[in-house]
């Protein structure tokens, strides 16, 4: 919400002043910290198109303005347990670790253990059920201040009453996952049911920055996420959506804390979040009405 405010504030500055942005990428020298371990991924329960293999990626950090891929971590040992069973994830390529036997289950809490460079990291998340789409459709919308004209994928969905729910939306256009690092992301891609507990919501747009044309195939996913992961994503989207405009302020940049704890050396924190999510999804082809 506040970010919509920032966006509009920027529009306002441009209106009043000759506000100006200059690319200074080549004028800046950064001091880098020692590389940290990063986890990118988690477990996904998807009953619509079940995953045959669960996979996640391990890398380290690189200098911010450097180009190229992040350095992969291929020599870690990765294990996930639900308290009674455990699964070993083996490295396939490019830092990806895979397991084809694990089937994520509702209500379970999963713990990941990563042993790398002589240090042990551990992270926990739990899996909660996602409500289904009541309706899945598309609608044509005229151009607005922030969005292009076009067809938008929409759905209706009913929030389960008396349970705190947290949602994350993913949108795919012709099978390509689309996410835009801008301030709007935080307001659109994640939401808590704080203000609509137990209600049906009509016409939810999973990503109003993505317009479709006739013939395109749209796929949307509604993910049920845990509260700590919601907090993590809130901060992630706040920081990645930072477009620097201090006109009404922007949050001071800070390291985003994930859920991996370094048991051997707590100061050498790992970054990223090991998540467990339940996925509802549907696909639609945009046609002429």
């Amino acid at each position: 919400m506040k970010n919509i405010f920032i966006t509009t504030a920027i529009i306002l500055t441009i209106l009043i002043f000759t506000s100006c942005e200059t690319d200074v990428t080549n004028d800046i020298t950064l001091e880098d910290s020692d590389p940290r371990l990063v986890i990118n991924g988690g477990l996904e329960r998807n009953t619509i198109t079940p995953l045959t293999t669960q996979r996640l990626q391990l890398t380290t950090t690189a200098s911010f303005l450097s180009t190229g891929e992040l350095p992969f971590v291929s020599d870690a040992s990765v294990t996930i347990t639900d308290g009674s069973n455990s699964w070993v994830f083996t490295h396939s390529n490019d830092g990806f670790y895979e397991n084809s036997e694990i089937i994520p289950e509702l209500g379970k809490t999963y713990t990941i253990t990563i042993n790398w460079n002589g240090e042990i990291y551990e992270g926990v998340d739990s899996l909660t059920e996602v409500p289904q789409f009541d309706n899945f459709y598309f609608e044509y919308e005229e151009e607005t201040l922030v969005n292009d004209a076009g067809y938008f994928v929409k759905f209706d969905t009913t929030d389960p009453i008396n349970i705190p729910n947290f949602y994350y939306y993913r949108l795919f256009k012709n099978d390509e996952f689309i996410i835009v690092p801008d301030p709007g992301t935080r307001d659109v891609l994640i939401v808590s049911d704080e203000f609509f507990d137990g209600r049906q919501r009509i016409g939810v747009n999973p990503n109003d920055e993505v317009a479709f044309d006739i013939g395109d195939v749209g796929k949307a996913q509604q993910l049920s996420i845990s509260e700590p992961y919601f907090d993590f994503l809130t901060e992630l989207f706040t920081q990645t959506g930072n477009i620097g405009n201090p006109i009404i302020g922007n949050p001071p940049p800070a390291s985003i804390r994930g859920n991996l704890i370094n048991l051997s050396n707590p100061n050498n924190r790992a970054l990223g979040y090991f998540y467990t999510v339940d996925v509802e999804e549907d696909t639609i082809t945009i046609t002429e009405n």
């Binding site: 306002l12 200059t22 001091e31 201040l145 835009v180 203000f195 930072n242 201090p246 302020g249």
Partner: protein
Amino acid sequence: MTKRLLFLLFLFSLGTFAQEKSTISGYVKDNSSGEKLLGVNIIIDNSIGTSTNDYGFYSVNIEKGTHQIEISYLGYKTIQKEILIDGNQKIDFSLSEELAELDEIVISSNKTKKKIESTEMSVISLQGETIKKMPAILGEPDVLKSLQLLPGVSSVNEASSGFNVRGGTVDQNLILLDDATIYNASHLFGFFSVFNSDAIKNAKLYKGGIPSTYGGRLSSVLDIKQKEGNVKKFGGNIGIGLISAKALIEGPILKGNNEEAPGSFMLAGRRSYIDLFSFLLEDFKDSSLFFYDFNLKANYDLNKNNRLFLSGYFGRDKFELDGLLGTTWGNTSASLRWTSVLSEKLFLQTSAIFSNYEYNLDNLRTGSEFRWKSSIINYNIKPKLSWFINNNHTLKTGIDVTYYKFKPGKISSLNGSSINEEEFSDKFGLENGLYVDLKQKISNKISLQYGLRWSNFNRLGNEEIRQYETGAPLTYNPEQDIYEENEVIGTTNYSSGDIIKSFNGLEPRLSARYLLNESNSFKLSYNRMYQYLHLISNTTSPTPLDVWSPSGPHIKPQYSDQLALGYFKSFKDGKYDLSLETYYKKLNDVTDFIDGADLLFTEEIETQIAQGNGRSYGLEVQLSKNEGKLTGWLSYTLAKSETKVLGINNNEYYPSNSDQLHELNLVGFYKLNKRWDFGFNFIFGSGRPVTYPTGRYEQNGLVVADYNNRNGNRLPAYHRLDFSATLHPKKGKNGKWVFSLVNVYNRQNAASIYFNEVSEIGDREIATGMTQATKLSFFGIVPSISYEFKF
């Protein structure tokens, strides 16, 4: 007990000294408008000096007989007069403005004498007229921008709400408009302040040495007085600038056939009109964007000794983007004041004040429309008694009672959307202050002003307070360097009127002046301040949507100590003066949000903040030229300000957002002839803090920056040159033109440098995996023109 008795005896003895002499007292007024003048110097026989108080009243003791009296005031002709005193007498004086036709500004040495001789230090006083002469962005003169051209006052960038004083944060400034607290002084997100320069008579900023008559904020007091209006005739002015149009009318109340009416009024209004051009941009045609404000002041003399004042302010900013978002925010204040001259030596003023700040935030996206509303309301009553005991002693004492009602937030459905209405519980507080302040002249060389303020804050019911497992909402985990939220184990219900938590603070204040000779003095000041309200902001510079929160079971009050030392010198008969001040300020229990805090729509604010300490120190030098065709000042500040909060920046001190090592200001006014005068200023500031990333990683398809030290890097230096020219009307004409050119050499000063992922390829918005650093500047060269018509 004995101490108290001694104090009473001391006061009694002061009273007895005075009996041999006569007291003259009265008001000093402006000759053409009849408006009372504050801070006017009154010097008798070149030795005894005093000045008028905030209501233009003075009182002085002299022996019976003939005396030379000199009344002087900046911008006015000095009066020198011989008076015969044969008992207690009431004498009013009228000063005439120095004629505008005069080619240069003339200053008598007595006008600068006050800077040397007063015990006041770290004080900036600006007249409404001076503010209007400075070059202004888009031709809109602004008191807060003008103050930032003086040493020790700055802001994080050109578009931040409010200002920073000596390394303090924005919420540590007490901003008073005719005694009413203004909670947010910004229009248009901080580009302009809520103060219409036409309606301002005088603005006084205390950066240090704050007298005990003020309290409630740590770093400064900005006391703004509105114009009272002309008691002799109706008049007004209309101004048209690039950004706004304004009008002011003033005149007498119940004048009858008298030369001076018993009362007068002033009413001013202003509205910005950038939005009127929005139809030019197709995208914005259904949007609105403007601010407006009204200032009102009226006063009426009930009789010779009793006056009533009514003043008010109402202002709103509104902007709405169709189908997306709407927001409205603003202050409302009203104060009713009664001043009474009880005797030649006793002056009583009593104010009853209402003040309110509120904002609405409307989400207008289809399907999820809602309105968020938040406000802070206070009722304040403050009687203050001034006792002019004798020429060497003036005592002020009073009480200050404020009742607060905080409405942190209410969410309601708009256009029938499926939103559950919810209201965060209201919070209540009662703040009390009791103070004495004594000005004492010990000898010709030594003068003191000292006092004590007792402040007390009670968080009141009706409210439900959470109890946390370990007593505190958060526990810091040093191993992982994070705050962990503690379990809520229960709640305690307090009913209306119950005291939930009470705090007390003793605030000693002292200023001392040692006069080396007529033109050289040393000054020293110390003050302790308590602050019970906190503006919780998780942004670099505050926004209109930040929430004020009272101290209570889970948030401690903040307090500060400041020590300042100064040297003051005037030379060439007061033509020039020099001031040199150094200070050290320690701030305790200041609030900062913890990393990753989400403050908007958060009810349990205590789970999002941590409290820490701050320190700032610096040196401020100012050389002023007060007389001649060219007047102005050159100032230099060397300063450092740092904050330390557990869990931020590896638990070490980090530079505050407003930290700036060097700052140089050159401000000049040049009077060419009867019709033209010019203003210019040059600002140089070394780079403010910024945080650069120390690493990059990926998450959910986005590139994320990692950071290590808060504010560990610096922006490039800031500098800018501005010009203004004023064309005064020919004799008999009334129109005035003001031209200004801000940022003459078009420097793109960095308001921020930020790092992010490139979010577009061609026209397509998408995460690209590429990173960039971008500098944002608010404006290049800005020319403007405005026209003012007086009638």
